[in-house]
Symmetry: C2
Subunit: 379 residues, 2 copies
């Protein structure tokens, strides 16, 4: 054995950000990308269709383990790989809970992780009933295919999701929609953790995530004004989910902290996650290195912070032409302490083009610097 080999399905920025730790640690990274000029181009060995069994199988044979940049690979494809004896991490039986929000809600109920009030609905009547009981506003979600606010609508009448409740869309979602109470939350949190096949489990400090238009805007680590009791509870929820579902690799549990101090699970991601980008500079072991170690069933690294505070701000495209790079040099000069990440993507309105991380001692200063650097990059 001279090198461990990890295959990542998907060539987005998450695969790209695995390149650095793979190169440092000495892991050979291969990427199956959907297109030629993906963000993870440097490590791309195959360009092809991740829904095609033969393409994925051929790719999988060149690595020791298959893992993911996104959760859109059909479970049938993954089960096929597993039947062929290929190591898929996280395994399909775990990953299905990140792919399908109804499957997730049912599982969380089963082993007692805190869900908001929810229901599966397939008709206007069922949805109206739920709105009557838990409205006036409720959140309707497509069980599969949503991300970054897509596939989520806040509604007060079933009229507003008639398209989703009609053929053929409803069938494409599996015949049901997920409807949830609109949680009155104080803020949103995310608990990042990692687990390997041997059952070793580690977690990072719980973070506060701030959203704009349903997309993550800033992440504050650790979440400010957090009681030890609440942060301990967040970690326990992540551990329960990780162990109950048999998750391997990095797991992000997005949660609501309600006005009454409850924690309720919002979403799951079984891969490195936007809420954990701060770990690249902020932690002894980043979520990307940890994911690679975990899916290879290697021992996990320490998650201790290197500085008391880390703040990350996402850089989203403001138009289809405004390049990230136009103000790059100027921002580097103004913020020599900021770590500016570019994903090497062409600009598009609302697209995640990069992020900025600032670590330090003072949360207000870190937040201000990260935001200002981000704002200058796209101004």
């Amino acid at each position: 054995m001279t090198q461990y080999r990890v295959g990542v399905i998907g060539g987005g920025q998450l695969a790209r950000m695995m390149i650095a730790p793979a190169s440092n640690v000495g892991i050979e990274l291969k990427v199956l990308a959907e297109q030629e000029n993906s963000s993870a181009k440097l490590a791309t060995t195959v360009v092809g269709d991740f829904t095609d069994i033969d393409t994925v199988l051929e790719f999988a044979k060149s690595v020791d383990v298959v893992t993911f940049d996104h959760e859109h690979v059909p479970i049938a494809v993954l089960e096929h790989l597993e039947q062929m004896g290929i190591s898929v991490q996280p395994p399909s039986r775990a990953l299905v809970h990140a792919q399908n929000k109804l499957v997730m809600r049912r599982a969380l109920d089963k082993f007692g992780a805190p869900n908001p009030i929810w229901s599966a609905v397939s008709t206007v009547n069922e949805l109206d009933e739920f709105i009557k009981l838990h409205g006036p506003e409720v959140v309707v979600k497509t069980p599969i295919g949503g991300y970054d606010g897509k596939g989520v609508r806040v509604v007060n009448t079933s009229e507003q999701v008639l398209d989703w409740l009609s053929e053929p869309l409803l069938v494409s979602f599996g015949g049901q929609l997920l409807v949830e109470q609109k949680v009155k939350f104080k803020r949103e949190l995310a608990q990042l953790s990692a687990r390997n096949q041997s059952g070793e489990f580690v977690s990072w400090p719980v973070v506060e995530t701030r959203q704009q238009n349903g997309v993550c805007s800033e992440v504050l680590s650790p979440a400010p004004n957090m009681s030890t009791e609440t942060s301990g509870r967040a970690m326990q929820i992540a551990k329960l989910i990780s162990e109950s579902l048999g998750v391997t690799g990095t797991l992000a549990v997005e949660m609501f902290e309600t006005e009454t101090g409850e924690l309720l699970v919002n979403e799951l991601a079984m891969r490195p996650h936007n809420s954990g980008h701060f770990t690249i500079e902020g932690s002894v072991t980043s979520q990307f290195e940890q994911h690679l170690r975990a899916v290879l069933n290697l021992p996990l690294g320490k998650t201790d912070p290197l500085k008391p505070i880390a703040v990350m701000a996402n850089v989203l495209g403001v138009s289809d032409s405004k390049s990230f790079m136009d103000n790059y040099s100027q921002v580097m000069a103004s913020f020599p302490q900021a770590k500016i990440h570019s994903y090497g993507k062409s600009p598009r309105m609302g697209r995640k083009l990069g992020h900025v991380t600032v670590v330090g001692e003072d949360i207000d200063r870190c937040l201000q610097e990260a935001q200002e650097a981000r704002d200058q990059l796209i101004k």
Copy 2:
């Protein structure tokens, strides 16, 4: 402009360690490697002979700036590139001082950087004279081609370098050897710094380097028990050299700290250097990111330490078969706080295969952990 493009000549571990920051920052890295399976394979776009003008020129045309993993590219080749209008950083007029130790000694004398007593000799008589004056032991060096203890001999009679003083070897060294007093030093230090074309200059804390058989074994950052006055002097020496020679990129100045507290320059490297590997985890900006920024004439990043202490231990091959990877998993388990770097090289006796960095609060503990992790990797 969507990406800055840097071309690195040489596919060793220094080029490899540029991959991570290039990928993070959004710089396109291309490597001209001497062989197919180099350490920097992932970023290699050309495999060819770096002494061949056409090969290097063709490579150079695909990037915005050419820089180096080593100092062995013939100056004539670099001058040719420069005449063609290609940006070579550091420029040939600076780099010649890292290639040729006699040229370096003369320049340092000229602008007043502290040399040990030295002379250029081309005959047995000249060398005997120097030994008589400054012996009994002296250090003889080949002006070009040496590294990691190669091309250096400690002698007390010219008999011991008769081969170097004879044709055709002497001619291959440029007709002269460098002879230096054997400095009575307390310890060896290295001052890492970076400078861009605009003249911006930054430095990291001066470090202590420990050698075994002429090869770097451990690096302690910052150098323990260092007075502010001495560390200030080390920085000033690096600044003087960097500015006087017009260095761009990372510069490592290896120095002796003598028993009387003097600092004397031993060697120069105009590229990321083994003494600066600790900066990957230990500093806001690593020497590799800084080198890329500096050669592109981008503003430089902060060099503040993330933790008070960083210790690096080199992993050298102990045989031609013992793989770095055999104990990898076990060492990860025993040292979850250690950052283990593998260069993806096949094992060879004495070869630099990787390194281990531990950051923390306590120097003794960091040193012990880095050494133990290193020792276990190759045991």
